[in-house]
Symmetry: C2
């Protein structure tokens, strides 16, 4: 167990784990889902609203924040927690993933990545050292090592070269990181879909020693079965006593399958982004509120859900809001989706504690396949 970022493992059920991560800004019950607050805001949600959904930790994006409003400014204003009015734990990514996505306007060397801002075209250099420094300035409770997210698909030799660079950068990230109580640094396993590379990467990272381990390079377009296969090849090589984080995942069925494979933490823009485009998650699958079938439906989006959209409004009203392009539509649906995700996480935590995770997972997945409730 990391002395700076304690991880208590309370129960296991098969490979699924029930734990608690303790940070300087509060505890996180795992398995946990982290809403994404890219630009110092979980889109369309106040901080108190995010907390009300049951979220205990959120994610911030180093790339976006370093460009606007800038890490120096956030530091001068007291750090990201105070700046965005969120007093719970925050995890920041390293900026690597976003920077690598800037095709044509970035250049990568052993030192790091030179890139142009998508906002004003200004030139920037991001290195492992600079990424860690920025995450310190933001005061992130969990700092991510700077890595290259290997493109998918990639041939074995390309994936190997990329993973080895990420491992050298992981070492430099560790050197640049300043230990503090209640804070931690996570390494990121790479190696694309190749079991041997995933094992090598896991071993190198474990050798360096981190407070937690992320599985990177997934949720980049591969089928779910492939993602699960890679997880099967990755998590067994990671230390039992440290949290495991699957980056950028995913849909409810992805989360269920990954928890079954020993993952403790997730982040994804899925619930927030879907909410802004009228797509809702329910225990019976995904629902598009723009569909005319909802226009006169007086029923709540999801029966039993305690979010404002489900307790105060009908599907007909939500449909109307999206047709009229009213901001309240994205607001209510973002809230619902985040609440739905947190409810799923809580249900998985309960199931693991009670030793009934496999049964819970099977039943939930079966309902997801049923699809939405029939029209009235």
């Amino acid at each position: 167990m990391s002395p700076e970022l304690p991880f208590m493992l309370h129960a296991t059920d098969g490979r699924a784990r029930r734990g608690t991560v303790t940070t300087a800004h509060g505890t996180v019950e795992t398995p946990a889902f982290m809403p994404v607050g890219t630009a110092a805001t979980v889109k369309a949600m106040k901080g108190a609203d995010v907390k009300a959904t049951g979220a205990e930790i959120i994610l911030g994006n180093t790339y976006h924040l370093m460009l606007r409003p800038g890490a120096d400014r956030i530091e001068r204003l007291g750090g990201l927690h105070r700046f965005m009015g969120w007093d719970g734990p925050i995890l920041t990514d390293s900026g690597g993933f976003q920077v690598m996505s800037l095709a044509g306007i970035r250049k990568m060397t052993e030192k790091g990545v030179t890139f142009q801002s998508h906002i004003d075209g200004s030139k920037h250099l991001l290195t492992p050292e600079r990424s860690i420094e920025i995450q310190h300035q933001l005061d992130a409770n969990i700092t991510m090592a700077f890595d290259e997210c290997t493109p998918f698909p990639a041939m074995h030799d390309v994936a190997k070269t990329s993973m080895e660079l990420s491992m050298r950068w992981a070492e430099r990230s560790k050197s640049a990181y300043r230990k503090r109580a209640g804070y931690g640094l996570f390494g990121i396993v790479q190696g694309s879909v190749y079991d041997d590379l995933r094992k090598v990467s896991s071993d190198i990272l474990t050798g360096i020693g981190f407070d937690g381990y992320a599985v990177g390079g997934l949720a980049v377009g591969e089928p779910q079965a492939e993602m699960f296969r890679v997880l099967d090849a990755s998590t067994p090589h990671l230390p039992e006593d440290k949290p495991r984080y699957l980056m950028g995942v995913g849909r409810p069925s992805d989360l269920i399958g990954a928890v079954a494979r020993g993952v403790d933490m997730f982040d994804c823009v899925m619930p927030t982004r879907a909410g802004r485009t009228a797509k809702a998650f329910t225990a019976r699958g995904e629902v598009n509120l723009r569909n005319a079938r909802h226009a006169e439906d007086p029923r709540p989006l999801e029966a039993g859900c305690d979010c404002p959209g489900c307790t105060m409004h009908s599907r007909a009203y939500l449909h109307h809001l999206f047709k009229a392009e009213e901001m309240l539509g994205p607001m209510l649906l973002t809230w619902h989706n985040l609440r739905h995700y947190q409810r799923l996480m809580a249900a998985m935590r309960d199931a693991i504690e009670q030793g009934g995770f496999a049964a819970f997972a099977a039943e939930r997945l079966a309902h997801l396949d049923e699809g939405d409730i029939p029209p009235l």
Copy 2:
């Protein structure tokens, strides 16, 4: 006093009045400001948020609602209160003002107005009878008579002809209106800037008999002094024992001057629309959060304000949200502006009760002229 829509006058101070309107969905302390919920939503606010600002009554727009989602649909879904999840009183306008604004795609006769929908080009006829029927379908607590909002400026003969048409329509509106306990119908005084026409209009409406009286045709581009002069020529002719409503007004200084002239109710898109474009109202005037002077300002937008934006965040953060075009910016600023307006109304109500309205008004107006707090 109207038996269906009781108006209790608790205190007067000069011409300023402190009262209570009792509706089937709750009471409204006056002077009152009604946030505008055009399309069955006060933009960027949940119903509970609107209530949290202190608003007791909101306004809905007949024109928008009859076109989308349609009055029949709202009626089938239980009325506007249930549809939009607002259990307090609702006032609806008659649709006249919006329809008249559709230059080129509407035709007016004695019978009513034929117009094309701005949404899908479909043809519609709005008459006094149809407007009242729609407002019944919506279940509005306060229904507005269908009138023509006289264009500004208008020559005396044009204003007279227009006012006389509105008076005939007021009579037809009254005939079409169905009395119910806790519900009421308001007539609308017209007559442009002409004192003699305003007096004739007031006398005709009083003769017909309404549960309240609105002053229409103002806030259409005339200077504030002219609006106040017309109010001086209108409110003295209206019954003391019925509420008076100044439509579409206004800025804080407009509200203060109108309350001083005996107005009890207001509605305006100002606080919500301004909030979406980074403009905030404070006791020291208007503030544009996009201005670079706020970029590193750790102070709240308005000291002492209890809204989420002011209690949880700095000006620097609000500035960032608008620069990054994050939805939370409009959400927080709409909330602040509505809260600021409700605080102003509450302060005016207190001042009238204590017989200190003139002093309150003078001091508030002086502070408004000071402008925003100096930069740090």
